[in-house]
């Protein structure tokens, strides 16, 4: 972990609109404060609330601007309006048996022995009066729907001038290109775009596809969880109330930690770190891979790709019995799917090293023990887009660009695979026009600098279309076959055990350890055994006690 540092920092937030429930406070029919959960951008049949909160300003006296406190003076909502727009749900974060028809096992009551690592914050357990236990949450009806698939919704609505109608904050949502072309066709509700493309896709049974938050912001706090874990997540040095984003980032890291632990503990072939299709998941990860991994898929809908097509982790492989609360239960998934490759396709790696080049450089440094050092070349002004050729850049990028190409089909700052079918390496839809520009929807994924008048080039693929096609699976296989991998692993392990950096005087030691490691099938035990028997290790700490008081 010291090498890869697979903990994602605060710069990255996992809070897709499709999975983030906001909680607003209105006045109920009895004049008392009442929480209601909803998703901004949720499509609704009712025109006045389409794409916004499910009760109008006329009904609540309030407007709810995104990520800001409500505005207006609250009035008590009428019971009929409340019942027409909302429903009460027993959600997953409160009920162990949320999948049953009538959940009864509420957190802290009938559900008496929850996992010690699962702890919703008090604000999610109490009603707006701050002392009445929450036994069910009120949520907008569309969000409460449990179906796995819905249909693409199109209104045929035309843009209108003037202020938004119905005292709305925003104009009525219009049909985008995808909605117009696919109206009435099925859409998977786990797809991130479903929230803005369908009126019959909600958060699933027990709101399982959504995360709660304690306020109007998208990253409201939800769970008490470890925040400093140098001795592991089971021995936290601090605990704090954090958001679902932090919650998931913790478990992404733990997936990598558990995976590496299993490789070493079971004395498996180290090359599995780069090539394995198996992994281990707990409840929150099962929930993520099952329901939420495709939550960022909105931008690719212009290519006809609204879900994760060929996911790096097949949702069908997720253990069905793992519930979101099972934080301490880890199960092995034998096969994540054909695109899985050890840690290279885990969210922890793909978000820690968010860009193609960062991912390539991380592999180069971590598994081949090499670094990029600029050559002694003057950087001259250049219009050459190919960094493998541009003077001053080529010394590093001639190596880095082909490495980065392995990740051309893995979305940056994300963990989705871009399938060849809807997004070919060379796509005529993204060709340059007469002025040398590509269509707007292409720019995130196709690189105009390497596109032509006949086709666009997938970003990053220019350096090696073969690497782009092979993806992380090919990267892992080629790294695993590299003779430098064994030497690099030996150097890292030896430096760790000796507590110092290796130097040229250690060449003989490295050679003998490498032989033990490689001949032992790239397993860690023969390497450690050989290292512990070496005179270098035995004399690494040979202070005598003489002279000490």
């Amino acid at each position: 972990m010291d090498v890869l540092r697979l903990e994602v920092g605060p710069a990255l937030q996992f809070r897709p609109p499709s999975t983030s429930l906001r909680r607003v406070t209105i006045l109920g029919p009895d004049g008392k404060s009442l929480y209601v959960y909803y998703r901004p951008n949720q499509r609704r049949i009712r025109e006045a609330t389409d794409g916004e909160f499910c009760l109008t300003k006329a009904e609540t006296g309030l407007s709810f601007p995104p990520n800001k406190p409500h505005v207006g003076s609250a009035i008590a909502v009428k019971q009929e309006a409340l019942d027409a727009a909302t429903v009460q749900i027993k959600p997953w974060w409160l009920y162990r048996d949320y999948r049953s028809a009538a959940p009864v096992l509420r957190y802290g009551e009938a559900w008496k022995t929850p996992d010690v690592g699962y702890q919703p914050i008090d604000e999610l357990l109490l009603e707006a009066d701050e002392h009445t236990p929450t036994v069910a949450v009120r949520v907008c009806k569309e969000e409460a729907q449990g179906a796995e698939s819905g249909t693409v919704y199109a209104t045929g609505r035309k843009p209108s001038k003037g202020p938004p109608p119905f005292d709305r904050l925003r104009p009525l949502p219009l049909d985008d290109v995808y909605a117009k072309a696919n109206a009435g066709k099925p859409i998977a509700c786990r797809a991130g775009a479903a929230v803005s493309l369908s009126v019959d896709c909600g958060c699933g049974v027990g709101l399982e596809r959504c995360y709660p938050g304690e306020g109007f912001k998208r990253d409201g706090k939800a769970f008490v969880m470890p925040s400093k874990t140098p001795l592991g997540v089971d021995l936290p040095f601090d605990q704090a109330e954090q958001s679902p984003s932090d919650w998931m980032k913790l478990w992404w890291t733990q997936e990598a930690v558990r995976f590496l632990g299993k490789v070493f503990r079971e004395n498996r072939d180290f090359r599995e770190v780069l090539t394995a299709r198996w992994s281990t998941v707990n409840g929150p990860l099962a929930q993520f891979y099952r329901s939420n991994a495709a939550a960022n898929s909105g931008k690719t809908k212009a290519f006809g790709l609204v879900d994760d097509g060929e996911p790096l982790f097949d949702p069908g492989a997720v253990p069905v019995g793992l519930l979101p609360h099972d934080v301490g239960t880890w199960e092995t998934v034998a096969d994540r799917g054909p695109h899985a490759a050890g840690i290279l396709t885990m969210p922890a790696f793909l978000t820690k090293y968010a860009s193609r080049r960062a991912r390539g450089a991380a592999l180069y440094a971590s598994f081949l023990c090499k670094g990029f050092v600029a050559g002694d070349v003057m950087l001259m002004p250049s219009t050459e887009p190919n960094l493998m050729k541009r003077p001053g850049c080529a010394t590093c990028h001639a190596t880095l660009e082909p490495l980065a190409a392995y990740f051309s089909r893995v979305v940056e700052t994300d963990w989705r695979w871009l399938p060849e079918g809807p997004m070919p390496t060379l796509d005529p839809r993204c060709k340059l026009d007469a002025s040398g520009k590509a269509p707007g929807f292409c720019r995130d994924y196709y690189d105009p600098a390497f596109s032509s008048k006949t086709e666009g080039m997938l970003r990053g693929a220019y350096a090696s279309p073969a690497h782009a096609a092979g993806g992380p699976v090919l990267a892992g296989a080629e790294l695993a076959a590299s003779p430098e991998l064994g030497t690099c692993v030996v150097e890292r392990v030896a430096a760790g055990f000796l507590g110092r950096a290796l130097d040229p005087d250690d060449a003989t030691l490295v050679t003998s350890l490498r032989a033990a490691f490689v001949d032992g099938g790239y397993k860690i035990k023969p390497l450690v055994r050989s290292l512990l028997r070496s005179p270098q290790y035995r004399s690494a700490n040979n202070l005598a006690s003489k002279g000490t008081p």
Binding site: M1, D2, R5, L6, E7, V8, G9, P10, K228, P230, L231, L235, P236, F237, D238, Q239, T253, F497, L498, G499, R500, A501, D503, D505, D506, T508, L509, Q536, S539, A540, N541, L543, S545, T548, P549
Partner: protein
Amino acid sequence: MSRRAFAVVSGVALLAACYHPRDTIPAVPVAALPGHAALTVDTSPKSDLRMVPTEAYVRTYLALFGGLAPLELQKRARGADGAQLFDTWGDYLATLGLPDYKTDLPRARETNALMLATFERLGAALCDRAVEHDLRGSKPRVVFDFDAPKELDVTAFTPRFDVLHRTFLGYPEKLAPGRAARFFDLYAKTLTRHAGDAGKTGKDKPKLAPNEAAWAVVCEGLVRHPEFHLY
């Protein structure tokens, strides 16, 4: 010789005196140099001492505190004194040299004064809290697994010291000749220094009785001992 000729000759002589031909030493095999015939090239590693990972130290302290979890240790170390003896782990993790992967703060590869000071603070908290816990009758005793009479001579001190010695340094005190006597001297001097505290009351009353303070100092001496950090 004319005056002019003398000047020319003198100038040439002066130039000649200032000019030294470049020193050249003909290359010879190393073995031909005096005293080098029997020498071989030393290719053995010139390594530094191994630095034990901070995690190992921290786990040691957790064990010494009675197998507590980190957050429980923090609660115990703080006791009723707030942050006087121990703040929070969050204040110490970086100074202990632990990495922070979220912010890409690397692991400290060498010890430093702050790291040692932090360990000392942790050790002092451990010893003071252990005195309060163990020597006032709470069971099970964690560090001071013996009774502590108010008056001790070196003979009575030694077996008790041996308990601490084995706990902190991992071997019997008799294998470190003279150490028990030196620590008894420390114990006795501390006892003398605190003898005047016995009658104090109210806010002037120290938190530890004289013999408790003396045992705490012995404990701190061991937890700061170089061998403890190498053990």
